[in-house]
Symmetry: C2
Subunit: 413 residues, 2 copies
């Protein structure tokens, strides 16, 4: 079964908002076995919205639209649905009661403008919204399904997960699909291609996609067909091949993140970690603690941005700063050792680099970054050249630090 996602809002076509909703909806539909053929974004313009709705209803079976369901005048989706489906708007007392009850529970006044939210196109069913006033709208006509959801990501996702996915799952989807993503780090796309393509088994059922990012290269294996067993076997065969060829670069699968994998390794080995961050200003600690339950292994860290803080809190030697500078191998090592002692952890990781745009030199250009690691057995630091964009350098530095920690725990060179 094929699908199209339509995301609505001037902020999307003008580039003032990143389209995370399309990604969230696409992944959920994909996981359910639907194939999203097109994602279309249109501005808050009734003509272009109507053109997008008509086109999608012609070329796919399931259309999911988001945005334009708010109570204010720039929200046009219902007006366009009324036009495209040739239906009237009907007032629903039960919806009004629901959204009034939400206001009461939150102890806030009911904004009069929210009464609009109780109007639905004739014949539509609705999906309740636990986090907001705009309900989801579902219309079915001539074998096509049209679903309209609010644009606020949290509301959209709650309705997708609790209502839309179960609703679509009940329909007969008729296609088997198997998707496996292998997550790698420490290797670029072209090298990976040269490593694996020569002997890669050919198979009509299965395809491979490379997904590079600042956090590492992912490889997505997608098998599709009508026979469940054949599809699963084809995916399994390619995964096995890739694990054999590129296993040392693979740290996890699917939704695994490097921070989760490292966190689980620390838990499994009953170890703790602390950080000392200069150019990343706290990002490594933020990433480590983005994992729920990270208090089991993350103790704390020092955002040692100024040299004074490096010396006074982490006991970096002033002589080192004078001789080698803050962005140097000995400074990175001393920062890691200092953090390990200050926070009394098994491991400590440090980052000191030139994130730019200022501060680079011929000897140490922007992107020059030293990452240090201290444990009971070893102290070392490695040099990385991480590019020229400030936030890219910082993000790459954090993931390089996590990878150094992973290799240290697993004793991989």
């Amino acid at each position: 079964m094929d699908a199209e996602i339509i995301t609505i809002g001037d902020e999307l076509t003008s580039g003032h908002r990143i389209n995370s909703n399309a990604t969230e909806i696409a992944r959920r539909l994909n996981d359910l076995g639907l194939r999203v053929k097109f994602v279309t974004s249109v501005g808050d313009n009734t003509e272009e919205m109507a053109e997008a709705f008509h086109l999608a209803l012609r070329r796919v079976k399931v259309v999911i639209a988001t945005g334009g369901l708010g109570p204010t005048d720039d929200d046009l989706t219902k007006k366009v649905i009324v036009k495209v489906f040739k239906r009237n708007l009907v007032f629903h007392d039960d919806i009004l009661e629901r959204i009034k009850e939400r206001s009461r529970q939150r102890g806030i006044d009911f904004p009069a403008i929210n009464q609009n939210q109780a109007l639905l196109p004739q014949g539509a069913t609705f999906f309740p919204n636990r986090h907001g006033s705009a309900v989801g709208i579902c219309l079915s006509e001539h074998g096509k399904i049209f679903i309209s959801l609010p644009g606020v990501p949290r509301e959209m996702m709650q309705i997708m997960d609790d209502e839309v996915i179960p609703y679509l799952a009940k329909l007969n989807l008729g296609q088997a699909i198997k998707v496996v993503t292998l997550r790698t780090t420490g290797i670029v796309e072209s090298r990976m291609a040269e490593l694996i393509t020569p002997d890669m088994p050919a198979d009509q059922v299965v395809s491979l996609a490379y997904l590079p990012s600042y956090r590492g290269l992912s490889m997505r294996i997608t098998a599709r067909g009508t026979d469940r067993d054949e599809v699963d076997a084809a995916a399994h065969k390619l995964v096995q091949f890739l694990e054999k060829k590129a296993g040392r670069y693979i740290f996890g699968r699917n939704d695994d993140s490097l921070e989760e994998v490292v966190g689980q390794l620390l838990i499994d080995n009953d170890k703790t970690v602390s950080v000392a961050e200069s150019c990343t200003g706290g990002q490594l600690g933020m990433i480590l603690t983005s994992v729920a339950g990270s208090s089991q292994y993350f103790v704390g860290g020092l955002q040692a941005y100024s040299n004074d803080v490096k010396v006074s809190q982490l006991k970096v030697s002033s002589q080192t700063l004078e001789d080698s500078g803050a962005v140097s191998e000995p400074c990175a090592q001393q920062m890691a050792v200092g953090a390990r002692e200050l926070f009394k952890t098994d491991y400590a990781v440090s980052i000191t680099g030139i994130a730019g745009p200022e501060g680079g030199s011929d000897e140490k250009p922007v992107g020059t970054t030293y990452i240090g690691l201290a444990s009971a057995h070893t102290t070392n630091a490695r040099l990385f050249n991480l590019g020229t964009d400030r936030n890219v350098v910082r993000t790459r530095a954090c993931y390089a630090a996590l990878e150094m920690l992973r290799r240290e725990i697993l004793d991989i060179n």
Copy 2:
């Protein structure tokens, strides 16, 4: 002049990658005065790519496609261009030399597969790529312009900024446009609408859009027309009205971020700041130091994740932790005071909260967050309820902390 953006890749239609490229391109076209009518994403599928190319060439004047220009077999864009435009591929020696030279400069072997990158559709001109091997491709036919760019964001943006925008700017655009975005914090969309809609001046030329995010609500004013002066005056009039009605919530304009505005305030007042972060694990320091030049005012911080670190490093009283817990007003105050003393700064900001998903209670549900602030004159802490999603709670906490700091510096209640 109108435009369509086509982003290509299975990772987009399957929801495995967020479509930041579309946003970046749209903003640049919008700033140039082009109106992006549609953004379309398609998978790596020649039929659907061809359908999207044909449709876009029919309905707009400028088409910008990204993705599918890599050297590997899953990169199909050139094949589809050849089909849609009915042209052959021609080998360009000069392009091969350029990309070989790039490899030499970076001291890496030239991957043989990259030879494909020197093939271009007949009659196409190309835009050089400073960061990668895939050049941008430009075709012009029947008054339409079709531009194909690589999908790697950094490469795409460099070619857009250095090549495509100057190229499009030379064409006659014929429309005047004025866009102003007012950035606010501390007020939600429906309240803002109730505050400003009653007396808002009506004007055909100008429109207002609300752009809520976890970092605050933005309001975008867009004026379009044929007369430059009329367009500018209409935008100016609405901006003045909004500043009068909602000025206390407005912290900046257009690309201003709260962290930049706060940083500039610290510079202007010759003040320094430090942080003490529990549930955010370093995110506030990361945000403050995302601004180039932040070393002028950001000294350092403590990622005080465990209670032991709060007590040993920030001198939070053990009695306070026992009586009130780590997520409490006195703990937030003591954390701020401790950081201010440790780092010897004018201001210190602290965050302690329950980010979830675990750790909530009836008395202190997930989202309960105290933000503390210490200065030479005052110590205080405020309670916030920031939702139920771990990363949303953390991001909102950081921006609430920045807003508390802004109000303290400006002496706004």
